[in-house]
């Protein structure tokens, strides 16, 4: 009897002692919900810095050089969003993520957005729980082989090894394509792109498959770039663009319309150099776009002149393309599908109104 009395007393006392603790936890929890329920946009503004997930190993898209400076199309998209939200294109902290880490890093809140050559697919949009901002690069999956290998098409891969990076759409497309033509091949699946290209370079695989732009960019880093050729096949559609997490439309809208803004600026002919000359323009579309009229920016929770900031600091889509992968770069890729819709391409922005 006494033992139980003692136990009850002890329980009661500790309960009382922990009572305060329990309520504080509950309060903390509610605060947590409030933050979680609020938008990422406020988090980024409070922090004063944008956390942007990039690949960091693909020249022309996102590449970190010896001095630690990031460059590329994907990096410029991060900069554009930082310029729009914070007014400073350099207020970005880049996180290098591999293809398997990227979605968990985003859903775990480790990064605010991905700008990491991520293909827009329906399952990622729905079941994986992501939101895809407009495509910044229309790509297709290709196959890199040695010029002297005698391989001319996918049929020649029977019994041969193909290196591929895991967690990518290319891994799935490769399987689908090979199933379609009933070719038995050996997939060698790497978690790390660097390891995959190294294994391909030293001969573990006959073929290396990825997005064509990535293969072209990576070929330039192989020991003898001239010994490798791209096959004349396009295995899939690969629309690549920035990504945010589901169910945060305020933040998603910011990323989406900043990206559209880059395209719209090119259509208007506004560049980093001439943006200042559009001050006090008579054209109402451009005045709205640059924030001189209307409240497009403030309605979104941004400074009204956010697009003016973006363009003066980063440039429009055409400028970004040309300096990173286009004619002003070592890759000299044609605009092709990535030209404006007015020039026969797929780049099209809904109206800023």
């Amino acid at each position: 009897m006494r033992k139980w009395g003692l136990l009850a007393a002890a329980l009661g006392l500790t309960m009382a002692a922990c009572g305060g603790g329990t309520t504080t936890t509950a309060d903390g929890g509610e605060e947590g919900v409030a933050t979680a329920g609020g938008s990422r946009l406020d988090v980024v503004k409070d922090r004063g810095q944008l956390l942007c997930g990039v690949d960091g190993g693909i020249p022309g898209f996102s590449f970190v050089d010896e001095s630690g400076t990031y460059s590329g199309i994907d990096v410029d998209v991060c900069k554009a969003v930082a310029a729009a939200v914070l007014g400073d294109a350099e207020a970005v902290e880049y996180r290098r993520l591999d293809s398997t880490e990227r979605f968990t890093a985003l859903s775990g809140g480790e990064v605010d957005m991905l700008s990491r050559n991520t293909t827009w697919t329906v399952s990622r949009d729905t079941s994986v729980g992501l939101e895809f901002a407009p495509t910044t690069f229309f790509d297709g999956q290709g196959m890199l082989v040695r010029a002297d290998s005698g391989i001319e098409g996918l049929e020649d891969f029977a019994g041969q090894a193909i290196c591929v990076e895991t967690g990518t759409t290319t891994e799935l497309n490769l399987t689908d394509q090979m199933r379609q033509i009933s070719v038995d091949f050996e997939p060698v699946v790497f978690q790390d792109a660097d390891a995959a290209y190294a294994a391909y370079a030293e001969g573990r695989c006959e073929g290396m498959t990825s997005d064509k732009s990535q293969l072209v960019a990576r070929r330039s880093t192989l020991p003898n770039p001239d010994e490798h050729v791209l096959l004349e096949v396009t295995m899939s559609k690969e629309p690549l663009g920035p990504v945010t997490i589901n169910n945060d439309s305020a933040w998603f809208d910011v990323v989406k319309w900043t990206t559209y803004g880059l395209i719209q600026a090119e259509e208007f002919g506004i560049t980093a150099e001439n943006v200042a000359t559009f001050e006090g323009t008579e054209n109402p579309d451009i005045a709205r776009f640059l924030g001189a009229e209307g409240t497009l920016g403030t309605d979104m929770g941004l400074p009204n002149d956010f697009m003016a900031q973006v363009i003066s600091q980063v440039g429009n889509y055409g400028e970004i393309y040309e300096r990173n992968v286009g004619l002003d770069s070592q890759f000299e890729l044609e605009r092709g599908q990535n030209a404006l819709w007015t020039e026969g391409g797929l780049m099209y922005s809904p109206p800023f109104r």
Binding site: L6, A10, G29, S127, V189, Q191, A199, N247
Partner: protein, 392 residues
């Protein structure tokens, strides 16, 4: 008794002085803290899942996987469900674990015993091996074996033949193997069965020799016959196919061990064996010097002293830490995904990336490795009981 057991007057001071009150109170507090932490983290997880509009569940495992896997023990097609893909990964992990534990035991014991060798070269080699391998991270060693050693092998059109029995190239290692999987399984089962039977026969022989002083020839002959039968089964029953080089590169027949598998196995075995060697060395050193000297004074030579007197006693010290080395090896197989070996962890990463369900996949992963390690512990505990000192 200072206070009344009826509890009419509640004496707080007396209770606070009571040692038993504090013992219980501390346990209750600890439990509460654990409970609060758990509920905080689980609540957080739940809130985040709800925010992303997703419910916790495992039904996604029934959806088609859609990716291909390089090597597999069981039949697998890309449109098979995710759970089957995970089973393929588990099978690959198990082949790595089984071969790894077997080879580690052999190499580790040999290296540990070698450190006691009077032969200068053998002794030095053992020490250098342990010192070098034990102090380099396993991931580095995996890359080293994969890229520097097996990557340096020639391409299939210039492959190296080994004694007409196998081939080496930068795709893998080709060895003779039974012509069908069923035969291979039967052969392995026969080998294990014969080994167990021989062990018990030999124990029976020793017992008879001790108890009756008889020669035990009958049992010795039985072991020899068993050995011959086993040899006959292995040599003639397996329908061996020997790998043959193909004109222009490549190999047909035999068994292909992929370069990923061989590199993973080699680095795991070399790495873990270095630790096992130290455990074996410690075990042998724990046997008192008097045991050596007594055995030597009976006129036994060094090899017999080690085998019959010292090593059986050393086993008592060796077995418990060996258990954790085997578990380390099991868990370290997950690093093999860095060199593209499609083991459990590698398939699981692809799965959670494809489905966006890291929490569920990691639950499956953790449960798998937990069960594997518990099974190893179960076996090792039985073994430990068998070698412990028996008081008579």
């Amino acid at each position: 008794m200072a206070h009344d057991s009826g509890g009419k007057s509640f004496d707080l001071k007396a209770m606070l002085r009571d040692e038993r009150f504090w013992k219980i109170a501390f346990q209750v507090i600890t439990l509460l803290v654990v409970f609060l932490l758990l509920s905080f983290f689980l609540g957080n997880l739940n809130r985040n899942l709800i925010q992303m509009g997703r419910a916790f569940g495992f039904s996604f495992l029934l959806n088609p996987a859609g990716f291909s896997i390089g090597e597999s023990l069981i039949q697998y097609r890309p449109n098979d469900p995710y759970w089957r893909a995970l089973m393929v990964g588990l099978g690959n992990t198990l082949t790595l674990v089984a071969a790894g534990i077997f080879l580690t035991t052999l190499l580790g014991t040999a290296a540990g015993v070698a450190s006691f060798s009077k032969n200068w070269l053998v002794h030095r080699l053992s020490r250098i091996y342990v010192g070098l391998v034990r102090n380099v991270p396993l991931l580095l060693q995996l890359f080293f074996w994969y890229f520097a050693i097996f990557g340096a092998l020639p391409s299939p059109d210039e492959q190296i033949g080994v004694l007409g029995l196998g081939f080496l190239n930068n795709r893998g290692v080709y060895i003779p193997w039974a012509s069908s999987a069923v035969l291979a399984v039967l052969g392995i089962a026969a080998t294990i069965g014969a080994a167990i039977a021989a062990f018990y026969l030999w124990q029976w022989r020793t017992k008879i020799r001790i108890e009756t002083g008889a020669g035990g020839q009958a049992q010795a002959i039985a072991v020899a016959v068993l050995g011959l039968v086993w040899l006959a089964i292995i040599v003639f029953g397996m329908n061996w196919t020997v790998p043959e080089g193909v004109e222009g590169g490549g190999v047909t027949g035999g068994l292909r061990l992929s370069r990923e598998y061989v590199a993973a196995l080699t680095s795991l075995v070399f790495y873990t064996s270095a630790f096992v060697a130290e455990i074996v060395r410690a075990g042998i050193q724990s046997v008192s010097k008097g045991q050596w000297e007594a055995a030597r004074s009976l006129g036994l030579h060094a090899g017999i002293v080690m085998r019959l007197v010292v090593f059986p006693q050393a086993l008592r010290v060796i077995i418990p830490p060996m258990n954790s080395e085997y578990m380390n090896l099991t868990k370290n197989t997950s690093l093999a995904f860095a060199i593209a070996f499609p083991e459990m962890y590698s398939v699981a990463t692809t799965t959670y990336n494809q489905t966006g369900r890291p929490v569920e996949v990691f639950v499956v992963l953790m449960a798998t490795y937990l069960i594997l390690c518990l099974l190893i512990t179960l076996v090792m505990n039985q073994f430990n009981r068998a070698v412990q000192f028996k008081e008579r």
